[in-house]
C-alpha cells in the first residue's frame, strides 16, 4: 500500500537556511545540506528546498547546494523558487534535483508547464499553487503569485485542474490564509483540490501540531504533508510525526533501521 509522505521544507537564501534549526549536535545550523541529511536520516520521505534568494545572480549558490545535497541524501529532492524558464529547470535537474517546482511562471505562461513535462517527464514537474480564500465567498479561493503578494484572480480549483491537464506530476498546495499561523491546514481547500484532480496533492501551510498533519492526510485527503516550522523549531522530529500517524492508523513508511 502506498504510504503518505512527510516532507520537511527548508527555506534557503543565498545557500543558507533562513530559519534556524535546533537539531542537537548540528555543526552548522545554517547549512541546508546538513539539515537535509538529518531529516532524511530521521525518516523524511522527501526533502523540499524553497529558494527565496531575491536576485537571480546568486543562482550558482543554489545549484552548488543542490549538487551537494543530492550527493549525500538518498531520498527525492524537490527545489522551487525563481523557476522561470527552461534553463532553470534543466540546470536544477542537472544539479541533482528530482523535481522542480514551478509557481509564478506557470501563471505567466501555462504552456511552460506542458513543455517542461513533455521534456523532462511529469514526475519531475511540480506546480506550486498558493491559494487564498475569497472573503465572503464560501468555498472559493484564488491563486496568488510572487510570494503571496499578487492576486491573479484565477480560481484555485480550476487552476489545479488546468495544471494537472497540462502535465504537472503533482500539486504543492499552500493555503496563504494558514501559512505561518500554526492553525492547521485549510482542510476544505485541500479536500476540494484532492477530489478535483487525478494527480497527487502535497498539502502545505499551517501545521502546528501532530494532529494537524493527521487531519491533512485524512480529512484533507492529501497524499503528502509538507511542513517547515514544526520541524525547524524542534517541536517534533519526523520520526515522532510518523509514530503518531502510525498509532492513528495512517500508512506511512516507518523510520528506517540503519
Amino acid at each position: 500500500m502506498l504510504a503518505k509522505r512527510i516532507i520537511p521544507c527548508l527555506d534557503v537564501k543565498e545557500g543558507r537556511v533562513v530559519k534556524g534549526i535546533n537539531f542537537v549536535g548540528l555543526r552548522d545550523a545554517g547549512d541546508p545540506v546538513e539539515s537535509a541529511q538529518r531529516y532524511s536520516d530521521g525518516g523524511a520521505d522527501e526533502i523540499t528546498f524553497l529558494d527565496i534568494t531575491a536576485s537571480h545572480e546568486n543562482r550558482r549558490t543554489l545549484f552548488d547546494l543542490v549538487d551537494r545535497t543530492a550527493s549525500t541524501v538518498a531520498v527525492p529532492l524537490t527545489v522551487g523558487g525563481g523557476v522561470r524558464e527552461r534553463r532553470d529547470v534543466s540546470e536544477l535537474l542537472h544539479a541533482g534535483a528530482d523535481k522542480v517546482s514551478i509557481n509564478s511562471a506557470a501563471v505567466a505562461n501555462p504552456t511552460f508547464v506542458r513543455d517542461m513535462s513533455e521534456a523532462y517527464g511529469a514526475q519531475a514537474i511540480v506546480v506550486a499553487i498558493d491559494a487564498k480564500r475569497v472573503p465572503g465567498e464560501e468555498g472559493k479561493w484564488t491563486v496568488y503569485t510572487h510570494g503571496g503578494r499578487r492576486d491573479t484572480g484565477l480560481d484555485a480549483i480550476a487552476w489545479a485542474e488546468k495544471m494537472a491537464d497540462h502535465g504537472a506530476g503533482e500539486i504543492l498546495l499552500t493555503s496563504m490564509d494558514r501559512d505561518g499561523t500554526q492553525d492547521g491546514y485549510d482542510l476544505v481547500l485541500t479536500r476540494t483540490v484532492v477530489d478535483a484532480i487525478p494527480i497527487p496533492v502535497v498539502a502545505s501551510g499551517g501545521v502546528g501540531t501532530l494532529g494537524h498533519v493527521h487531519e491533512g492526510l485524512t480529512a484533507g485527503g492529501a497524499d503528502a504533508a509538507l511542513a517547515a516550522s514544526i520541524f525547524h523549531d524542534g517541536h517534533y522530529t519526523v520520526a515522532e510525526v510518523k509514530e503518531y500517524l502510525l498509532d492513528h492508523g495512517v500508512c506511512v513508511r516507518p523510520p528506517e533501521r540503519t
Partner: protein, 209 residues
C-alpha cells in the same frame, strides 16, 4: 569480488545524476556514456529510466539498443531502473506502435483510472511515493519500502520473471529477475538505505537468477 567498471547508459533523456551518485556512495566509479564501445567494455551495465517510452524507444532503436541487447546476451550483470525495466519488454500503452527491446515477452500497462484505495477514494496516477514490496527474492527485502514514481508497469507474459510485487489498487510487478538481468520499477537510488542495499547486491557477487 570487485564491482569492476560500472557503465550507466545515457540516452540523453534526463537526469542521471541521482543514479550516478548512488553508485558512487556504494563505492563504484560509474561512467555515463552513450557510446556502445564504452558500454560494452564495462563489467556491469545500468539503464536508468526517465522521460517517456516513446523517446526511450527511439533512442534504443539505434546502435545503443543493439549494444544493450549484446550486453544482455553476454551474460554480464544488467540493472534496469523504471523505464530501464519497461524498455526490456515488447511494447507500452504509453506509446502504441513503438517497440521496446523485446528481451522479454510482455507489455507495459497504465494504472487504470478507476482504481480505489481501501477507503474507497480514487487512487492518483502517477503512483508517487514509498510502497512496500512482497518478495521472496534474495536481492529484495520482503516488506521493505522503496520509492516509486510512475504511471506504467510491466506485465510479463512469463510470470516467473516477477521477483517482487507491490500493491496499488491490486498487485503489480515491482521487480523482475532472470539470469544476469535485474530490473526494478522503483528507484533504488532514491530509496535511502533499502535502495543502497539493492545497489550493493547488484555490485556484489550475489546470484539473483
Amino acid at each position: 569480488m570487485s564491482a569492476g567498471r560500472v557503465a550507466i547508459v545515457d540516452l540523453g533523456l534526463g537526469n542521471l545524476h541521482s543514479v550516478a551518485k548512488a553508485f558512487e556512495r556504494a563505492g563504484a566509479d560509474p561512467e555515463l556514456s552513450a557510446d556502445p564501445e564504452v558500454l560494452l567494455r564495462a563489467d556491469r551495465l545500468v539503464m536508468p529510466g526517465q522521460g517517456a517510452f516513446k523517446e526511450c524507444a527511439h533512442a534504443l532503436a539505434g546502435e545503443i539498443g543493439e549494444a544493450v541487447r549484446a550486453w544482455i546476451d553476454s551474460g554480464r550483470p544488467y540493472l534496469g531502473i523504471c523505464l530501464g525495466m519497461q524498455a526490456l519488454f515488447e511494447s507500452s500503452e504509453e506509446a502504441p506502435g513503438e517497440k521496446g527491446l523485446g528481451i522479454f515477452r510482455g507489455t507495459v500497462k497504465r494504472f487504470a483510472s478507476d482504481l480505489l484505495d481501501a477507503e474507497g477514494n480514487p487512487l492518483k496516477v502517477p503512483h508517487i511515493g514509498w510502497n512496500q514490496i512482497d518478495s521472496t527474492h534474495p536481492v529484495f527485502e520482503d516488506g521493505e519500502w522503496y520509492y516509486f514514481v510512475h504511471s506504467y508497469y510491466v506485465v510479463p507474459d512469463d510470470e516467473s520473471l516477477i521477483a517482487a510485487t507491490a500493491d496499488y489498487g491490486g498487485p503489480f510487478c515491482a521487480a523482475i529477475a532472470r539470469d544476469n538481468v535485474l530490473a526494478c520499477q522503483f528507484h533504488p537510488e532514491k530509496s535511502q538505505h533499502a535502495g543502497a542495499r539493492v545497489i550493493g547486491h547488484f555490485l556484489g557477487d550475489v546470484s539473483w537468477s
